[in-house]
Symmetry: C2
Subunit: 305 residues, 2 copies
């Protein structure tokens, strides 16, 4: 199974599909796990278009129940059933996602070939999701017009490999190798202790990704997005529309840059552009001038981190 | 306002989008009225792609609540609201379409800028819908796995114009012209009666279109589709899969041709192809050999009738 840290943007427009930009969705490969974040209408079309191996996706994280973030979910689940998916799928999101989906599936008299677990999260406080040992996921509150959740994904490397030169240098036995891999230090002849971290390495360092859409500018989220390798933060408007952004509980590009800097995010990706922007030239111009590493996200873009 | 009789296929695949074929939807221009029939996921994308003036659509007819016929409806309505549509929209379909849509819109906390009327139809008997004087619409039962409705659209010309040569020939007064337009015959000097139909003409003759998807082969529908100018009948499979078609309550191309001939439909359009057909070459081959006028429908196709 492939092991990488990669996000692919499947939709970067807000509200509705326009100008070749679909509504919100992202495909996250996080170590050996495959996640989908949000699922606007047409997400299954985008998964096809970008040839994502969608059967690998095991968990779907929904930020909120506005149509441009969730109306593609019933169709995607239906398609999984059509092709007789067998592995379980877990969906996280705010209430009433369970009632919404169950009402739709009752109306369609849908039957599923695989278990679907729907977990409603408290959108008012941070919640730690225990999914995989090396993958810590935190759901945290965003401030939008309806209950909305941001997600942070942390890879915490645990399995360590012994450095090849160490085996030779200390003529390690199989028993010793096992113990070192399990985390023990090495005591050599003179009684000297060689620390485990000097004997081993982790192929991947700590990795982190945070997703913040939709949200008004809100410094309360900083603790949840601090020091991430990659931050996606919505940028519905350019800075001249800060008033509209506030009224509609969205953010501007300037605000997204500001919060990414305050949180010391290594890189910022933007998206969720208003339909008033036919192209993203002005966004690009602002990004170029910024001291922050900013990428103006576009449908299909892939970021390794 | 334009006046024509035209159907455009917006999606011709069954179950899910594949091979460039989207799920079911059709745009029907019927005289001066604009209708949408079914609304699978991605229909709003198709309306954009084919540059349909979607604001003209006043009525939406849903055949049944399987996802490939209705999951695009919430997103389309949301997009109308986003662009502040003001004119009302009426949606027809089987129960529980009202509960399904209202649950979705409650979850999304959607607010609409225009009135939406949802009318649940009895799927067990034919119902005549009184919408416009010259447009008679009949909803009739189809046999599928869940409650499903077919629709027939009839244009009944009523306004008639006086032939130009008649005005000259009989030296008609304005008063006489008014009466003839209102349907009266003309009595000339010798007491001879000239029939109204010989004095007037209708720019458009009677026109009719019927939509049958999804359905098993069922001769009970013949009375509802008799003599239509154009018949759309689902053709999920080729004839070698007649057994599968029956089991899954679908039809084959051979069955669609057979029923179109029995009903004396002038022309048959096909669609709702199974995902097992990468291309439609075999469908085309069967159509070419048929004594019936058959068009193998494809996304974007336009038919005037």
């Amino acid at each position: 199974m492939s092991f990488s840290f990669q996000i692919q943007l499947l939709g970067t427009n807000s509200a509705l599909p326009l100008y070749g930009r679909n509504t919100s969705s992202q495909y996250l490969q996080f170590g050996k796990h495959h996640f989908l974040i949000d699922c606007g209408e047409g997400t299954q079309h985008q998964l096809q278009r970008y040839q994502v191996k969608r059967n690998l996706i095991s968990h779907i994280f929904i930020s909120h129940l506005h149509g441009d973030h969730v109306y593609g979910l019933p169709g995607l689940l239906g398609s999984y059933a059509h092709f007789s998916r067998s592995s379980s799928l877990t969906i996280y999101g705010p209430s009433p996602i369970k009632k919404m989906l169950s009402t739709i599936f009752e109306a369609s008299e849908s039957r599923f070939s695989f278990p679907i677990y729907i977990i409603e999260l408290d959108h008012k406080k941070a919640v730690h999701l225990n999914i995989y040992q090396t993958t810590q996921i935190t759901a945290f509150p965003l401030k939008h017009r309806i209950p909305t959740i941001g997600y942070r994904f942390d890879y915490v490397p645990q399995e360590r490999n012994i450095k090849k030169e160490v085996i030779k240098q200390y003529e390690l036995t199989i028993e010793q190798i096992k113990r070192i891999k399990a985390g023990e230090d090495l005591i050599i002849r003179e009684g000297k202790v060689i620390k485990n971290k000097d004997l081993t390495f982790s192929k991947y360092g700590a990795k982190s990704y945070a997703y913040c859409s939709d949200t008004v500018y809100d410094e309360d989220i900083i603790p949840y997005i601090t020091n991430v390798n990659l931050l996606y933060h919505e940028t519905t408007y350019l800075s001249d529309l800060e008033k509209e952004a506030k009224e509609r509980m969205h953010s501007t590009l300037g605000q997204a840059i500001k919060i990414s800097q305050k949180a010391q995010a290594k890189k910022l990706i933007t998206g969720h552009y208003s339909s008033r922007y036919y192209n993203l030239e002005e966004f690009e111009a602002v990004a170029e001038k910024s001291s922050q590493d900013v990428s103006i996200g576009s449908d299909g873009n892939i970021y390794n981190f």
